[in-house]
């Protein structure tokens, strides 16, 4: 009984050590990849920029409505946007996340604007006016400068022609997040209500998996489940009947982030904005400081970046230590089993049969190990979606199993055949 329990304990220890080894490897690879990607994103030290948030100050709905009825006022905001985007002092990243009302939408509830939030949302419903099935879906609108600043790239399709998009466009080329790849194809259309106007979106391409931007205080706002709508490059007005759409669009477009090279003082930014306002006659804006926690976050990023090598080295050391322990355990288990194999062999069991028996033990151990890794992955690391790390971990587990099976085969032959 003691022997059985001892052997079982060793086997369980080996399964646990192997699982821990694979999970550590998976985490180290995943961490290394994520941290590198993370450091490359946003206003990292390498980009050497500071960021400010720009927003309008028309908070009173009546004042806001009146503003949008006036062609003269509308021209000031259009001019203000043009001045913002042509500034030589800073870059203006226009970004907003207005949900779209998509008709006959082919995706599921995970694309719903309320999915993952505390508000229940409407889900899919029949639109009173069009009579079509409709769902409010997640969407990000941004200008070309923002698209380029965040280094967004496509996994398929092509980037929309920014200069082909105007405020009057009723068909707009869009790029979709990675999760849409199973649902729509390049060239498909999605009918939506976009800022109070029925618009046809034509799929131009799909973003790389894990693409993200900084949005409203959140560094990694992932775009995998978003419809990304390009803003027009320049703003022009049509007649007043379109002001409802264009007014909201223009105001949305002047909301965003200003990024300036590090060393550019806030006074310089404000001075430049003031000149912009004077030139466009639009003064209803305000510049917000970067929140304190974002500064702290930046410091934390710097700390992580500065110690990245140490963290990775620590992970590698843990992985190597676990690997060595695993090797020791495996050898101890084999030695224990070999004693039994020797008795069985001298009693008439064939070498081939014993190697097969040992391989079956290993299959059991590694199946248990794969189960533990899978469970740990689902329960403990649900937010890590690194396919590369998962592939490497699976390959490592397979390699260890195959190596062990073959080395055991050789060792069993040697231990048994060698005279004592």
């Amino acid at each position: 009984m003691f022997s059985t329990i001892h052997s079982l304990a060793q086997t369980l220890l080996k399964v646990a050590a192997t699982a821990l080894f694979i999970i550590t490897t998976y985490t180290v690879i995943s961490f290394t990849g994520d941290i590198s990607t993370g450091l490359d994103q946003g206003f990292s030290q390498e980009r050497q920029v500071d960021m400010y948030h720009l927003t309008d100050t028309l908070v009173d709905p009546e004042e806001f409505w009146n503003f949008r009825q006036s062609q003269e006022q509308m021209e000031t905001i259009a001019s203000f946007y043009q001045e913002l985007t042509s500034s030589e002092t800073f870059t203006f990243l226009s970004i907003f996340n207005q949900p779209l009302f998509a008709h006959d939408f082919m995706g599921g509830e995970t694309f719903d604007a309320s999915f993952g939030t505390e508000s229940g949302g409407q889900g899919e419903y029949i639109d009173d006016i069009s009579g079509r099935k409709t769902r409010a879906v997640k969407s990000i609108q941004l200008n070309q400068q923002a698209f380029q600043f965040y280094g967004l790239t496509l996994s398929s399709g092509s980037v929309p022609q920014w200069n082909s998009i105007t405020p009057q466009s009723i068909e707009i080329p869009v790029v979709l997040g990675h999760d849409y790849q199973e649902i729509y194809s390049v060239g498909d259309i999605i009918d939506v209500e976009y800022y109070f106007r029925e618009t046809t979106l034509r799929v131009s391409g799909f973003l790389e998996e894990g693409s993200s931007i900084y949005l409203q205080g959140t560094f990694n706002t992932y775009l995998d489940d978003q419809i990304v709508i390009p803003y027009p490059q320049s703003l022009s007005l049509s007649d007043s009947s379109a002001f409802e759409h264009e007014g909201i669009l223009f105001f949305a477009m002047i909301g965003g982030n200003i990024v300036a090279p590090q060393g550019t003082s806030e006074e310089m930014i404000l001075s430049s904005l003031s000149e912009t306002a004077t030139a466009s006659h639009f003064h209803d804006y305000t510049l917000l400081n970067v929140p304190t926690y974002l500064i702290e976050f930046t410091l934390m990023r710097n700390l992580v970046r500065d110690n990245l090598a140490t963290l990775i080295a620590l992970g590698v050391v843990i992985t190597i230590t676990l690997g060595a322990s695993l090797s020791f355990l495996s050898r101890a288990l084999l030695t224990q089993r070999s004693h039994r194999y020797r008795i069985l062999w001298t009693s008439g069991a064939s070498l081939h049969g014993l190697v097969k028996k040992n391989t079956l033990y290993l299959v059991g151990e590694y199946a248990a190990c794969a189960g533990v890794v899978l469970m740990a992955r689902l329960v403990l690391l649900p937010n890590i979606q690194n396919i590369t790390a998962l592939t490497v971990a699976s390959l490592m587990l397979s390699t260890i199993f195959i190596t062990e099976a073959f080395s055991h085969r050789v060792i069993i032959h040697r231990k048994l055949v060698k005279p004592t």
């Binding site: 022997s3 069985l344 009693s347 069991a349 005279p419």
Partner: protein, 228 residues
């Protein structure tokens, strides 16, 4: 009859040299012979002969036959030969110390035909039926050797090859083990025993000596011990 003819066997040493053990040696265990002792100086090749006879070592030249039919020198056929015809006893017992006596004896039962009752029968035969639940680590050397003998016998083999079976035992225990051997010979079990012990030689019907890479009958040694 068990017969090994024109046996050539040599070992490659770690220093690159070759050590000859047998050169055109012949071995026979005749049908009527119930026990045979193999003697010779240390390193002469007694254990090697037993390993060859039991099929644990297939790296030799020569013709090995059982009941007139040649045995192929390959792993699977020799394993089958051991399984069906051979029991092995070694000087170091080769038992699992944390397992019970019964469990250890059952390890010798590679064939599914062997039952737990067979194991209990052979433990009874070596006088250990009352201790079958004991762990091997609790046994004395003599008791451990008796468990190893029971394990060798549990599949009811035609031959038992024993390599220095009393080499690690004191005189009284050696007598007890030899008593068991003699009793088993009476029940039809045939023994080939590699030994240095005069007592062991004295209970065997024939003695062969490993000498100058050959196997030669040793009637003088046998007679000498009978006279003692």
């Amino acid at each position: 009859m068990l017969q090994l003819t024109h046996l050539h066997k040599s070992f490659h040493e770690s220093n690159g040299s070759t050590r000859q053990v047998f050169d055109d040696a012949d071995f026979r265990l005749l049908p009527h012979e119930k026990s045979l002792a193999v003697v010779g100086r240390s390193g002469a090749g007694k254990s090697t002969l037993l390993r060859i006879l039991s099929g644990l070592d297939q790296q030799f030249e020569g013709l090995y036959s059982f009941k007139g039919a040649p045995l192929a020198q390959n792993e699977s056929e020799m394993a089958a030969f051991r399984r069906d015809h051979v029991g092995i006893v070694t000087q170091r017992y080769e038992l699992l110390p944390h397992r019970s006596l019964l469990n250890n004896v059952m390890l010798g039962a590679v064939s599914p035909r062997t039952t737990r009752e067979d194991a209990e029968h052979y433990l009874d035969l070596v006088g250990l039926s009352d201790s079958k639940r004991k762990k091997v680590r609790e046994l004395s050397g003599g008791e451990a050797q008796r468990v190893a003998i029971a394990r060798a016998l549990v599949k009811n083999p035609d031959f038992v090859f024993a390599d220095e079976p009393t080499g690690a035992l004191d005189e009284a225990t050696e007598d007890a083990v030899l008593g068991i051997f003699q009793r088993l010979q009476g029940e039809g079990v045939r023994f080939v025993i590699a030994t240095h012990s005069n007592k062991v030689k004295s209970v065997c019907e024939r003695v062969v000596r490993v000498h100058n890479y050959k196997l030669v009958d040793d009637p003088i040694g046998k007679q000498h011990h009978h006279n003692q």
